[in-house]
Symmetry: D4
Subunit: 247 residues, 8 copies
């Protein structure tokens, strides 16, 4: 019921002032004592709430997964652990776990994927971040094309694939160390690039800040950046773009 409906019902005498007030005030979230689940998010932003599993206390995790699964018929969690998988399986036997991406999910079977996102990595060590992005995008209904280990120290690996990479609605590029893949891609494609710096590296590149700063400083165009290792965040943006294009 939106504001106008409430006001109409009030005018029609179908509801009292007190009821109208209550409706206007009532917020579409579920109070779980320890957490205010945002069950209305799908209506507002088009996506149900996703669970960031890392560091979530066991009892909270299970309750939140169950609540979302009941409401949505599917549920997605990122940064999950093997131990959390074991825990959730007891209550939700259909839950699946992928060790590389660390994604925990129950996904509805009859999902139609639309459009396409290209996901590239500089090296093999960036693959876990890329897979978090890839599997999130697939859960949100996108097709994903993977181009892994095509870093610029062997530039022919980028050039060879460039037309195929560009043939999608959006590109996610995950790279650690100096993250130069992003600049090279930026000069060669005409699709928006979501850059994900990864925490791969040591010395000055340890923790991902060297890659983050390089990507933000890129001399190439069409690049925007998300937090270090934030494959999920990149997939969310990419999915929004893909959905906009596919209508």
């Amino acid at each position: 019921m939106d504001t106008r409906e409430i006001l109409e019902q009030l005018q029609n005498g179908d509801i009292s002032i007190e009821e109208a007030e209550r409706y206007l005030r009532r917020q579409p979230y579920e109070d779980m004592g320890f957490a205010h689940l945002d069950m209305h998010r799908k209506v507002r932003t088009g996506y149900a709430e996703v669970v960031f599993c890392q560091g979530k206390p066991d009892e909270y995790l299970v309750e939140i997964f169950k609540k979302i699964y009941e409401a949505e018929g599917e549920v997605l969690g990122t940064r999950g652990s093997e131990q959390q998988f074991e825990l959730l399986k007891k209550e939700l036997p259909d839950v699946e776990y992928d060790q590389v991406s660390r994604i925990l999910k129950i996904e509805s079977k009859d999902k139609n994927r639309k459009g396409s996102i290209s996901i590239c990595t500089g090296g093999t060590a960036d693959i876990p971040v890329a897979e978090e992005a890839a599997q999130t995008a697939e859960f949100f209904g996108c097709n994903v094309k993977r181009f892994y280990d095509i870093g610029v120290c062997g530039i022919h690996r980028v050039l060879h694939n460039i037309e195929d990479i560009n043939d999608s609605n959006c590109i996610i590029a995950a790279a650690g160390m100096e993250g130069a893949l992003v600049s090279v891609l930026g000069g060669l494609v005409d699709k928006p690039i979501i850059a994900v710096p990864t925490s791969v590296g040591y010395g000055v590149s340890d923790g991902g800040k060297a890659a983050l700063y390089a990507m933000l400083s890129s001399c190439a165009n069409g690049i925007s950046v998300v937090n270090i290792d934030n494959g999920y965040g990149a997939a969310y943006v990419a999915t929004e773009i893909n959905r906009l294009v596919e209508g």
Copy 2:
């Protein structure tokens, strides 16, 4: 002429091996002695090269503006100064300068703008960055809606405009200090947000890193970030998305 055409002409004897080699090697850039202008960029990425005026030596600036104007019939420069405007006017009398955005340009008259981008700022001090974005996007053929000075310390200013903000293909949000506008928008819209941290502030927010880090850390979804004060970069990404959607 693409590779296949070259090979066909070679096979047909229309060109010699030497000519074929030269074609394959020849790069579509203009050698100006001091700079390699990337004249082919429009073909490759859909946009002609844009001039970053700040710190460009006078003679280089004029030559580059003229070269691009000749090739494209229009030319866009960012971070220009009053003094550079005076300089360019002597050679290119049609050049225009906007003091707020610091944009220098000659724009072709008959441009049809498509789609729409919403551009928001937290305060009035962020307007120069927002205008760099807005005028770049307009130059690249987008319609722009401006929502300035709607920062979260008066949250009703965001809430009041939220449906109008969301009614476009992409949102640019420029904010300095703590940049909280981006997180609040992120929870209320379903369009991709390009966040631009600005260097507005003092103390720990001086230089824009506090805003940058806050935006990268945002608990909200659908946000990607460009370099501090990089209104141009945000507009480029937003324009790519707008163009993808509008077809």
Copy 3:
């Protein structure tokens, strides 16, 4: 005995010069060999000394707890561990431990709580810091209202509770990542806000500096900030304010 009393007794011949000197010099602290306990603090600042348990050697911890308990009839320790709880229980069987807040305490039974402090968190991961604040404030004699998991990515969760939050003498707001909750609250309430950045997050928000800087940079008014994860420090300030108001 204050200075005037000492001087009067000297003048009256009740004490010798040497005794007067000794009194003037004697400091109200307890020398434990390894530590100078500040037993006079309650007189000076209104609060007995609180024990920061983390990293305290076992023998020191027990001695300090016993000393304060003897002098005050109650004792509060922050950042305690399960193992320290086991240790203290042997000597002080009434000691209690709360796993979430990590508070170790013996609290006198007949405490009357006065006034009220609102404690808010952005997410569920900030709850341990908020509980350190809440239980410290309760130990110091304040009533506490808890508003957890009301982060700005679902702004209605803040708006829904705003009148209730504001209906207290002081507000503590604990948030990690970009800490935008603090700015939104700052624009909506007319009570002082003590902001606590938490070390919740990863990438650029890892360790809490992104939240700290965002809170210090906040465009909203009425906000002051304590160290990262310092729930205890926030509670101390809030209690001082609450006590001032309640008289």
Copy 4:
């Protein structure tokens, strides 16, 4: 008109659904084209909007000053310049300027000040920040006691004044370099301390981060911190506390 009044009028047929909708949506701010003045702030938070003058374009500044002055009968601006003073005087001849605090204001004459705030500085170089705080607090209706240049390298200067400092509702302490004044005060008073790190110093203390970090790390209790040089922000918090206590 609050929500209930609107609903009652709708039910009574005094207004139409469209009018009710408009009322519910209408936000109490003034749209100036370039800025959304938050004219409702005084109702919401108890204080009218204060103008941060630094870097504000001339035409904006004059318009904003006039708008607030018309609505409130007085107006306060911080970080103003001599040049801005000259500018404003032309339109608002009653405007006053203080070179030390850089405050620009028109203050209503019949203001009754209540309660009291103590404002301390470590050195003479911190006085401009302290005066920004002092004059803001006075504008907001507080009495202010000043204790300047009492830094800890001559500890007797603190000890001598400590009872007088503590005899107020709240203490603001501004210090640069290592900011140790704050820790010493924190151990001696029982009132909340708002610490303001200043950018006074050179080498590692240049810019105020050494003082900021020292204050956040203070081993003393009852201390919260605002941004570097943010005298205004400290005064705002102190004023809120003073007003709470004075009722």
Copy 5:
């Protein structure tokens, strides 16, 4: 043999040119294959080489301890572990280990200590660093007076002891968090203060940089600073001063 002696012997025909060359070139260090022990250091600087045990491979550690013990009749190691103590005991049964300071040593019995150094700490957590300093200074032949846990949040603890602290040749002050003890001492004594920032703290003071910067920025005079947690380094400087004074 110094240069002059060598030249005289050459002139006198007591040695050949080759021998003279060899003498002039021969360096007074011991080549152990993996390490060049600086056995001549005691002659050059007055102190034998001290072993930094942390992270030293087991076999290296034992060899180096034995070599120095043979040459000097005593040996001092810092940052030792329980496990290294067990290891050394097998070969050097007289070795002693102190768990607080983590010092491993064999000390000659008949040492006469001269002069005096005062060693102060802000809290109990700084004691390990202070003891590294204290025991190093004692090994190097100084008397040490300990003033622990006299931090400025209870300023009377400093004031009470100040004459006793100042009654020595040099003062070492170890403090973590904001390190304000150093500034307060600096304003009250007339002896050189060697400040040791410690890594005690959390949030912005984690790792000791807040204390380091505060100490370097101190408004007080007579303060110089060593690396974080470097009790050994402070003791070395203090010992040099003590030795200079005592002659």
Copy 6:
């Protein structure tokens, strides 16, 4: 086959246009599903790909080692662990592991080493980084001279060896803490110095940034720097120089 050969064969009718296109496009890398091995690197840069073992998943590691070993007859891995050694031994029984340098390799027997590189360290703790450099350089066919533990706090250790150090084609200098060895060497030799900051140290030198910045700031000439602890990278550069000189 290079471009000209392809074009000639096309002109001669030896290959079809499609074949010519395929040749021009075909890239000399091996697609392993998870990784694009750059098998052509030896041709392009003179060195086969080296495996960075740290954090490489077990199955990937084994596959990559086998692939390179098959193609090259030898294989080099850096940052290997004991556990990875055990794993590789099962499939490649000739693999060797060095605990100090953490190098895993199979090296062809009949290698002729040419030229010479001097490798110096400041202390014994820098030896693992130096050995990574030394063994990499030896694998790549250079002779290596080792000068370990010659740090500047005993400057005679440098001076004594300086002619021998300089008598090679290139010098690698690995040092932690303040890295002053590099500046001293820089003033005494006439060969290029590759400086390797190491993460040896604590407090402000923890992690190697103090050494890195010191080396980059060196007042001496002829110094260039690689990433912290990057012995491999230094060896690569040194080997290129050595090979250039030796022809």
Copy 7:
């Protein structure tokens, strides 16, 4: 009058309780309205207050110089400007100014200098900082030996002078860039070294942090460090040591 004298006079009836109280409370500082001059400092620490001129408002500067000159018969100011010199000359015609050290002073004529301090610099650009130290030490009654431009990139310049440098009570070493001079000196002398990092350099050494960190990390012994460019602070410590030794 010390405490005992006051108490005796009270007991003897020579003073009243009120007078005794007043004496005990009265602090030996001069209240100038804007500043609390610490006139008692010479008694307490052996040195009169020194004026840090930089950024001091004109009227304050003159008043403070006059006050100290009246009390002490001489006065020392650091970081003075030509313009401040002109200003002071009008009121204090004997004031002298040195452009290199930027010291402003009136020095009493009949000063006997005792002992000796060696002051070294790495390069010529460090001389202003070294001269601030040298002239401060001379003002405080020390003899000074200058060894300028002896940086380690020509190590013979250090070695040549080493015995002369070491022949004093204390060594000040000022160096920018990587500050390696300090480490080399540390291995060669047996006197305490006060290291002064200077802000000489560019890139990563700009501002002096590279030198500061290098000096704090030094592998050599006997080194303590003051703030960047703090020649005055180094001289103060050195003077204290010199005075201790000379008695």
Copy 8:
């Protein structure tokens, strides 16, 4: 005269012990009062001392230029200003100044250049740094090939020139912003690359640290790095390599 000659003359009675001592001690530098010119450097390292002009006081600058010019017949200064050029011309009329590179020099006419260095830049804004490198290398006797404005956002500009770039003894690559040019070159050439981060950029790339870190983190091989904007330093290393190869 080397050590052996001195000893022989002593043995032969040609010189006295005192003379021998003096010879052994005498250092080949020129004492100018304010500076110790290292006139022997050419013998020791192969290059005469180069003058860093920036910030050098006028009188020093002229003296040093004259001294070196007298000794060497030529002289090179970096980071010179127009004003310094005017100054030097008065005393040394042959001095030349280049505005782009800011090099001041008198170069001997009959110099034979050997070998070759390739110098590349990412953009036109990097040219001043590249020219400092180029003209230094030419002064030191190398041939230089320039490849300017070939940044990776138009990758064909690199690929087109790659064989020509690689056809030299050493490559210098100067780039600001994210510095990706270095990584791309690193994967394509087999010559050592000296990377020079430049301070070109804004936001997070302002000052050159983003480029520095990216270059140090590069996934490509054969790269070592010098300080930000240090074209001179890169040229020095490159020249050493070039001279080694050319013999």
